[in-house]
């Protein structure tokens, strides 16, 4: 290696090392700056109401700075002459290297001197060790970084200082965002499950979703949010009241409310469900729900007795075991009579024989769960049978009761009969008669009456094809009405969501906690009350369905506790449950009673105007849904109007 090469190699090595060390030092410096930035942000966050995102950004920048410092340091290029000068200065080479580098291109005249200088520099360069000259040690800045980091950790334990007004505003924003999210999710789910058929409904639902999205952006204050909710709810209410004015829809709504699902399912569908339930029940198809209750009661008695079972070695214990075995045998017999197969009872018996009470109780719990499932199935079957029984026999009755799917099914059956070659004159006459009877009830269903009339005329004239065509048109009319009902239900659901949102924003509560008692998302009694009231609604549609359907869950820990003087749920044999319909005299005084409860001390967190608005909204909803007796509607409306003034 020539002397020039020796010098160049050392200078290159030193330049690389300088670059590396510069990167290393810059990285630590970047880290220090980043940590200082984070400390400053944290301090500001602790003292001032800056958004939480500030901390996030400070953290991201803080982490990016060391990397940027490293890259910046590594990107620095050190020229050979610069490094030579630096080496001269650092090692005290008396400018040997830098002079030699400058003399590389010296003219031939001074080549002897040049060689002399380069040779001298090469000798000096041979002793240079860049690694030792620039060791990669932790820089001094590292200590400061650790100190600032420790300060950050310490500051983390210092509580935040926020004004009450800011905390209120933050809570409002969070609630508005939560409401917006829920409103959007619920409306989206609603549109997926039951797509709207008409433009006004689509527009209305889109408006609700848009409002939800606006809420989610979190830029609205509470008053604005309430105003927007109120305005949109008013619009939806107007639209739904217009839709609801049609007599047919009222009938259908009535049919849809009592009994459940009767107004929506066809008879064939109900029959299919019934068959499935029968199949699930198996041999216990004849078992009555009351029998299940009795069996359950018996099992509970046995469990209580087993829990307090005396020691097996004592005579009392042996006697109690005998009695328990007898009770179990009775239970097994009862189950057998009902046609139930309960293997857990047999296993429980075995456990009792081996004096394993824990296993016995466990098996009894499993048996109880099985029994409950079967009881639910039996109850569902009973309900379905009741619903099927309430479906009108003729087309007229079905239309009168608002049972549109059943009516469509009947029309389809008539069309099939007309298309069939085996239609007897008697059957045709009967059909004409049925159509004649349905003309009156069909007047509430748009053009349906006219179509039925046409069908009747054509059937009388022997024009079976024409009659069939008219019946098909009538069925189409009914389907259209069905769609209107679906849209109206959509509208009502959206309205209900908006009212819940109003309640949530107005009362500063989360959307989930504003569930009205008795009306849960699954329309099951008790939804939103008690143990399941904390659902967040931030779930996928599948999850939501799973969570709503909690019929399969057993929560013994949430069973009612306490003593009752009536025994363990037993009702005396001579007591019969009866239903008495209440009568309210419109001119009489309104019944009233006084509630005594715990008085809530302190100042209200809700503005009076907002509370009144929320109460008015609820009252209006109750009035619209016929929850207030007709006689008192004016009084209720006047009362809330007076409040507003």
């Amino acid at each position: 290696m020539s002397e020039k090469q020796v010098i160049d190699a050392k200078i290159d090595a030193a330049a690389r090392r300088r670059k590396l060390q510069r990167g290393w030092q810059n990285m630590w410096l970047g880290l220090l700056i980043g940590v200082c930035l984070w400390l400053a942000s944290l301090s500001v966050y602790k003292l001032a109401p800056v958004p939480q995102a500030t901390l996030l950004w400070a953290g991201v920048i803080g982490l990016a700075l060391p990397l940027a410092g490293l890259l910046f340091g590594l990107a620095k290029r050190f020229a050979g002459s610069d490094t030579a000068r630096w080496l001269d200065r650092e090692i005290g080479l008396k400018e040997r290297l830098s002079t030699a580098v400058e003399m590389y291109d010296i003219s031939a005249k001074n080549s002897a001197w040049s060689a002399l200088v380069i040779s001298d520099a090469a000798k000096a360069a041979g002793k240079i060790e860049p690694g030792k000259l620039l060791p990669l040690r932790l820089p001094k800045v590292c200590h400061w970084t650790l100190l600032v980091l420790a300060a950050c950790v310490g500051l983390g334990f210092v509580p935040e200082h926020r004004s009450q007004a800011h905390l209120d505003q933050q809570r409002d924003s969070a609630i508005i965002e939560d409401v917006g999210q829920n409103l959007t999710a619920l409306t989206k789910l609603q549109v997926q499950l039951s797509p709207p058929h008409f433009v006004p409904t689509k527009d209305a639902l889109e408006s609700v979703q848009e409002l939800g999205r606006e809420f989610k952006r979190g830029k609205l204050v509470r008053d604005e949010a309430l105003a927007k909710l109120s305005s949109l709810a008013e619009r939806l209410r107007d639209q739904s009241s217009k839709l609801g004015q049609a007599l047919s829809l009222k009938k259908m709504q009535q049919a849809a409310r009592t009994p459940p699902a009767a107004g929506r399912l066809t008879k064939a569908e109900m029959q299919r469900q019934l068959d499935e339930l029968k199949k699930s029940l198996g041999a216990a198809i004849e078992a009555k729900p009351e029998q299940f209750d009795a069996l359950k009661s018996k099992m509970d008695d046995i469990k209580i007795a087993a829990a307090g079972l005396p020691d097996a070695s004592s005579p009392e214990g042996q006697q109690a075991r005998l009695e328990l075995a007898q009770s179990m045998a009775d239970l097994a017999r009862m189950a057998e009579q009902m046609g139930l197969e309960m293997p857990n009872i047999d296993e429980a018996l075995l456990a009792l024989e081996s004096s394993d009470i824990d296993q016995f109780l466990k098996n009894m719990d499993f048996a109880g769960e099985d029994l409950q499932k079967m009881a639910n199935l039996a109850k569902a079957m009973q309900n379905l049978q009741m619903q099927m029984a309430e479906i009108g026999k003729t087309l007229g009755e079905q239309l009168e009761n608002g049972q549109v799917p059943a009516a469509i099914e009947s029309l389809q059956k008539m069309m099939d009969q007309l298309a069939s070659a085996q239609l007897t004159p008697e059957q045709l006459e009967k059909m004409i008669q049925e159509l004649q009877e349905a003309l009156g009830p069909a007047e509430d269903f748009g053009e349906c009456s006219k179509c039925l009339s046409d069908a009747k005329g054509k059937a009388k004239a022997g024009n079976k094809a024409g009659a069939s065509q008219s019946l098909a048109e009538a069925a189409e009319e009914l389907k259209k009405v069905l769609q209107q009902l679906g849209d109206m239900e959509n509208m009502m659901a959206a309205l209900q969501n908006l009212e819940r949102a109003q309640l949530a924003v107005g009362n500063c509560q989360s959307f989930g906690s504003c569930q009205k008692p008795g009306v849960g998302p699954s329309s099951k009694p008790g939804g939103g009350v008690g143990s399941w009231g904390d659902d967040s609604y931030l779930l996928t549609p599948e999850d939501l369905v799973q969570r709503w359907d909690n019929s399969g869950f057993s929560r013994p820990d949430r069973d009612a506790r306490g003593n009752t003087d009536r025994g363990a749920g037993k009702v005396p044999d001579d007591m019969v449950s009866t239903r008495i319909k209440g009568k309210i005299n419109p001119k009489g005084s309104m019944p009233s009673f006084t509630l005594r409860g715990v008085s809530i001390k302190g100042s209200s967190k809700v503005q009076f105007q907002e509370a009144v608005t929320a109460a008015q909204s609820e009252a209006r909803n109750a009035l619209n849904q016929d929850k207030v007796p007709r006689a008192y509607r004016d009084s209720v409306r006047d009362y809330f109007d007076d409040l507003k003034e």
């Binding site: 630096w86 040997r96 830098s98 002897a112």
Partner: protein, 335 residues
Amino acid sequence: MDPKEQIGKFREVYNSLREEIGKVIVGQDAIVDGTLNALFANGHVLLEGVPGLGKTLLVRTLSQVLDLSFKRIQFTPDLMPADVLGTNMVHETDEGKRAFEFQHGPIFAHLVLADEINRATPKTQSAMLEAMQERSVTIGGEIRKLDLPFFVLATQNPIDQEGTYPLPEAQLDRFFYKLLVDYPTAEELSEIVTRTTEGTKVQVSKVVNGATLIELQQLVQQVPVASHVKDYAVRLILATHPNTETAQEITNQFLKFGSSPRGAQSLLLGAKVRALTEGRFNVSFDDVAEVALPALRHRLIVNFEAEAEGVTTDLVLQKIMAGVPRDAVAASVST
């Protein structure tokens, strides 16, 4: 000759001179080194010090170790330029005719000692100007070249201001170095007393002749200087110029005039000699810094404020050197 051999010879001569002078002169290393440095740089030296510090002895010793002609001029107020340079005299030739003949003055020597130069009038002092710069004198319209090497060593007394004439700036600028001769230390004084009171005679031998000296002076000029070192010397000079962009605060405060370009020449030439004496083949920042005071102190003119406050040019120079970064590029790059 190969530069390496020449450098070897230079060091050999230098060390021999140092050794021979050391036989006579006790201590005063900086003055001896400075004088030899100026000798090899082909520059003149102004020695300033109170009487009795060995200034004249140093020059006389130098004349003994150099195989060169030596003349001493004792400057007095009545000394005339002709007494220094020489004059045309009328004399009778062998043929009995009368003719002008030039009588060479003491300036016509290789080594001239201008003792107590500030005692002569400015007129006489100025007679030295051409000789020192051009190495020639003009007498009666005729230019007469001086023999090379030509080396003026002047001494002056900083006290006894009565009857003295401070050297004009132009004259001062001709001196390569101004060396301040200080008192000897206790050990040096003891040695001086011993040598001078016990009747011991010290014999010094001649080390170098004129031709070799010229050769070595030429060698000095070939020593390479890196651009950033040269830049440092230039920036130092520029920093002494008051009321300019490059001037420092202290420059503007205490200096009336800064160094001339001769200052930069002295800096670099002196640094080159120093590099060779240190055994190096290139000039370093240290070399420049080391010769900055003797090379520049007599070229700066302090203002009234500095004089009133007793601020010397040495102090100003030290402050300027502290304020001028050696490597301007490296100063901006920390690693």
